[in-house]
């Protein structure tokens, strides 16, 4: 062996260190590639529901015409509701006071410009969403590398990037405001921490500007209040006054946003999907704890949010009763053994991840709402994994140490395998649903040529009920859905111009508190009459659970008019289904 081949111990250590760093960098790159692959199918998703409506808004054809650059999330209000129902953009059972107006001027502006430049560039829309996602992931890395170290930041970044919380915002172009809020809010948070730690006015001003921009992107940015509040509560040892003043770069733009939102009458009212605390505080509080529990389980345990929403309370309670003590024990142990310099930051990120859920309790629980909470969840999970796997001192193999090792294993499995898998499945599912909807609409468009009206006896998918004239590309062609997600429906032709629908065992349409159209509390009763252009609907009978079972539809024209296209939506697709002859009945099935 030559002398040059003999290396000193310190050289060996350095070589080992650089090898280890190189390996770690490679693994990080691979993990990010994995996260990208998980979300890749979203690039090929078609436009869906709101996307079509927003494209029409940008082109100035969505009623009531041109609404400006900043109003693409201004869907329904008192001025256009009836017109939207008359055209069939909204179904006939829409709440008579429904308002859906989101104050998202910056997100609206960016989308508007995009739709004006390239109204059909769906791939570009998804690529842009993907770039925002990449930006958010990079900022998570920057934030945590600054607070902890590169190792912790890398693991947390992968957990954040691969999380299923990004599925819907990636698949759904209209949901981009979530990413814009995340990116601007994260940038604001990074600078905010510097402002609070270093006290530089420049950082304070920059943080203010970034948070103000984030607020302009939409109400989702309010989630950052969780981190700012947590920072001031447990992340600093400043005096009370300094803490209150320190929060100003976030608090001022947030307060201004809320004031403007209230002054301009933005918000959601009279629908079951959203529970705007400023308009319906009891409604907001009523299901808030359940929504909070579901979001907590989804964020930390990678639970399937769609399944959990449908589960009874007992399942959620048992899940939490098992998981919370285990997680708490592992986190407590991690806090004990982590470097002292990490503790304050770990504490405010942990608390922030919990508080960040509060603003999104105004919406039905869904993984898509967890982007901002996942920043803290990813950080804390990463700290647990780092301290369990790469401890400064060998851990004891019993008690809390052993429990933490097992919990860390479970968390790693959840966040690196199970949750990304759910994300992949949901991405493919969402893309498939969008494609299915578009193919059905293509079928309808072809057959609707030359017709004066489309009547859907039974709808099966939300894309057939909501914004469908926009999807059809013909806002002038009335599109009326008579029932939705009903199972078997009996169609009775009671007159030249009237028919009745009787649904069993499911109702004609759901009136759950979680449905976007009714109640809150616009529950329909037997005898209620709804008048829309060309149709008078009378609710005749309710099921035992209060859902509508039977309704009569009186039209202002003969139903045998050949210019009407009659459709039944089955599980397999649309089919033409004219009503039966007068005095006869006909069952239709899914």
């Amino acid at each position: 062996m030559s002398a040059s081949a003999i290396s000193s111990p310190s050289e060996t250590v350095r070589a080992d260190g650089s090898r280890s760093r190189a390996l770690s960098t490679w693994l990080f790159g691979l993990a990010l590639a994995f996260a990208f692959l998980v979300h890749l199918p979203s690039l090929f998703a078609p436009y869906t529901i709101d996307d079509f409506a927003q494209r029409d808004m940008a082109q100035g054809i969505y009623p009531p015409g041109d609404r400006g650059l900043f109003a693409l999330y201004d869907f329904v209000d008192d001025t256009n509701r009836q017109e939207l129902v008359d055209r069939g953009v909204l179904p006939w059972w829409t709440h008579p006071h429904l308002v859906v107006r989101f104050f998202r001027p910056l997100s609206s502006l960016l989308l508007d410009v995009e739709y004006r430049i390239a109204p059909s560039a769906v791939l570009w829309g998804h690529i842009e969403n993907m770039l925002w996602w990449a930006g958010a992931s990079a900022l998570v890395y920057l934030l945590l590398a600054r607070l902890f170290n590169r190792g912790v930041a890398r693991i947390a970044c992968v957990i954040f990037a691969a999380s299923p919380c990004h599925v819907i915002p990636l698949v759904w172009v209209a949901n981009r405001e979530v990413f814009i809020s995340q990116v601007l809010g994260l940038a604001g948070l990074i600078v905010y921490v510097r402002w609070r730690r270093e006290g530089s006015a420049r950082h304070g001003a920059t943080s203010f500007a970034l948070f103000a921009l984030a607020m302009a992107a939409g109400e989702y940015s309010l989630c950052f209040a969780g981190y700012v509040a947590a920072f001031e509560l447990v992340g600093t040892r400043d005096s009370f006054v300094r803490r209150v003043l320190g929060a100003a770069p976030f608090a001022l733009p947030a307060a201004a946003y809320l004031a403007l939102r209230a002054a301009l009458h933005y918000g959601v009212r009279s629908g079951g999907l959203y529970f705007d605390p400023f308009w319906d505080f009891p409604g907001f509080i009523e299901g808030a704890f359940r929504r909070f529990a579901i979001l907590l389980c989804t964020g930390w345990l990678g639970s399937d949010d769609i399944r959990l929403v449908a589960e009874p309370w007992s399942v959620i309670a048992i899940t939490m009763a098992v998981a919370i003590p285990l997680l708490a024990a592992a986190i407590v142990r991690t806090f004990r053994v982590m470097p002292a310099s990490f503790r304050l930051d770990a504490a405010w990120l942990l608390l922030g991840s919990v508080l960040a859920i509060v603003p999104v309790l105004a919406v039905i629980a869904s993984a898509r709402l967890l982007g901002v909470p996942m920043i803290g969840i990813g950080a804390v999970v990463s700290l647990v994994l780092t301290e369990a796997w790469f401890p400064a001192h060998p851990p004891e193999r019993r008690g809390l140490g052993e429990l933490t090792s097992l919990v860390a294993l479970g968390l790693a499995f959840i966040h690196f395998v199970a949750a990304p898998y759910h994300g992949l499945v949901n991405t493919r599912l969402a893309s498939a649903v969008g494609a299915l909807m578009n193919s059905r609409i293509d079928w309808a468009r072809e057959r609707a040529a030359g017709k004066s009206e489309v009547i859907v006896l039974r709808a099966e998918t939300i894309g057939t009920v909501l914004f469908t004239p926009s999807t059809m590309g013909d806002l002038e062609l009335p599109w009326h859905v008579l029932s939705y997600e009903a199972d078997h429906v009996l169609v009775l032709r009671t007159g030249e111009q009237s028919l009745e629908l009787v649904a069993s065992p499911k109702p004609l349409f759901k009136m759950d508190p979680s449905e976007v159209f009714r109640p809150n509390d616009g529950t329909l009763h037997a005898g209620d009459v709804v008048q829309i252009r060309g149709i008078k609907v009378t609710v005749l009978q309710l099921q035992k659970d209060g859902m509508p079972r039977r309704a009569r539809f009186d039209f202002d024209r003969n139903l045998d008019d050949p210019s009407i296209l009659w459709i039944n939506e089955t599980l397999a697709g649309f089919e033409e289904r004219p009503p039966p002859q007068k005095g006869q009945g006909e069952p239709i099935t899914p």
Binding site: A388, W389, F390, P391, P394, P395, R397, R398, E402, L403, S405, L406, A408, L409, A412, F413, F416, V417, A418, Y421
Partner: protein
């Protein structure tokens, strides 16, 4: 073979008290707990199968699907058999340069044949047998159950669950020659390449069998891929490889596993395989066949390889301590007997009681199912203990006289 290979000490053949349950070697006590988990998984699978298929009781669909997804207890026994037999033969080859075939086959025969033949003969005698069962009986006596009938077809075999015992016996016939071949290679790399090549070849065989017939239904997939030795030997090879790795690098692996991250890594690999095994629809409804091809041997091998390596060398963590509880050694000693008798016991004795509890006494299925699993497990243990005393022990004493352990 390198002179540096550490030779595990075989437990000396000692005369044990007649009623004791200490048959199993106790060098790796955590494996006993693992065996018991394997037995439980098999028992619960068959309880669900009998309740749903034979008794036509309304076991919840989701529950049944999960119960059937936990099919891989059998593969644990294959891996552990491969490990046990591999360890014995590696020790024999290393110490004497020969596999000592006579002694090996005698010991295996006296260990496994008597209880099997007793149970098979009793079942054949109490009948009544269908013509197919009579026709296939000689296959069963010849340990060819997996080639001489269809284990899933009702009334085709007397002991359809004997397919796995047949598969193991067929493996025992060939494994000494594999070991001799292995030791014709000088380097560890060459030996591992041979073992790895053999292991992966089973997956290739399954793909080769399946791909021309992608529309095989589940029963056909079981018939052609699951029961046949030529498509399922990878779990046993994984066990032999594990024995080789353990023997050759046990000490350095134990040192490596003193650090938390490698332990977590092995646990993570096993957990991921377990999760994949529980996701037959991972590739969609049309990908179930492909998932079977990959799951039935490859994933189970990786999972058990990782976890067993961890249990053998990972030090005294909670899992090791829990699985090493002395009671597990006693229960695991009866495991072979439990496997032999649990299905006829449930099918003929306990499941009618379960059906009666559900239909006549109004017990909900949520109570009938776990009660069945517990009752079957306990009754099987009792019957197995009788077989152990009346059949196994006398033959093991003869075995020890004819072919002592060392």
């Amino acid at each position: 073979m390198s002179a540096t290979i550490a030779v595990p000490r075989a437990e000396p053949a000692v005369r044990r008290p007649f009623f004791e349950l200490d048959l199993l070697d106790n060098r790796y006590p955590a494996l006993h707990g693992l065996r018991v988990l394997g037995i439980v998984s098999i028992v619960q699978y068959h309880v669900t199968m009998v309740l749903r298929n034979s008794r036509e009781l309304p076991v919840d669909d989701g529950w049944s699907a999960t119960s059937f997804d936990v099919f891989f207890g059998m593969d644990l026994f294959f891996v552990l058999s491969g490990f046990l037999i591999g360890s014995i033969l590696l020790h024999s080859v290393a110490s004497s340069g020969t596999a000592n075939l006579r002694r090996f086959y005698l010991r295996r025969a006296f260990r496994t044949f008597p209880p099997y033949y007793v149970v098979l003969t009793i079942l054949a005698a109490i009948g009544p047998l269908t013509s197919a069962q009579r026709h296939h009986l000689w296959f069963e006596y010849a340990y060819l159950t997996n080639y001489g009938g269809h284990p899933l077809w009702p009334g085709d075999l007397v002991m359809p669950w004997g397919w796995s015992l047949a598969l193991e016996e067929q493996f025992y016939l060939t494994v000494p020659f594999l070991l001799l071949l292995l030791y014709r290679f000088r380097s560890d790399r060459a030996r591992l390449t041979l073992l790895g090549g053999l292991w992966i070849s089973a997956l290739v065989v399954r793909f080769a069998l399946y791909l021309p017939h992608p529309y095989w239904n589940e029963m056909a997939q079981y018939d052609h891929l699951y029961y046949k030795t030529h498509a399922r030997f990878d779990t046993l090879i994984a066990g032999v490889a594990l024995a080789y790795v353990q023997r050759r690098w046990g000490a350095p692996i134990a040192r490596w596993l003193e650090r938390p991250f490698p332990r977590a890594l092995l646990g993570f690999v096993g957990l991921t395989c377990l999760w994949l095994l529980m996701q037959p629809y991972l590739l969609g409804p049309w990908g179930v066949g492909i998932m079977h091809v990959v799951s039935w041997g490859t994933l189970t091998s990786i999972m058990y390889f990782a976890w067993t390596l961890l249990l053998l060398n990972g030090g005294p963590g909670w899992t090791q301590r829990a699985l090493s509880l002395p009671v597990f050694r006693k229960v695991a000693t009866l495991g072979y007997g439990v496997y032999l008798v649990h299905l006829p016991l449930y099918d003929r004795v306990l499941s009618p009681v379960a059906a009666s509890l559900f239909r006549n006494r109004g017990w909900p299925m949520v109570a009938v199912w776990p009660a069945s699993v517990v009752a079957l497990f306990l009754v099987s243990l009792g019957v197995s203990y009788v077989i152990h005393l009346a059949v196994e022990k006398p033959f093991l004493r003869i075995r020890d006289r004819l072919a002592s352990a060392t």
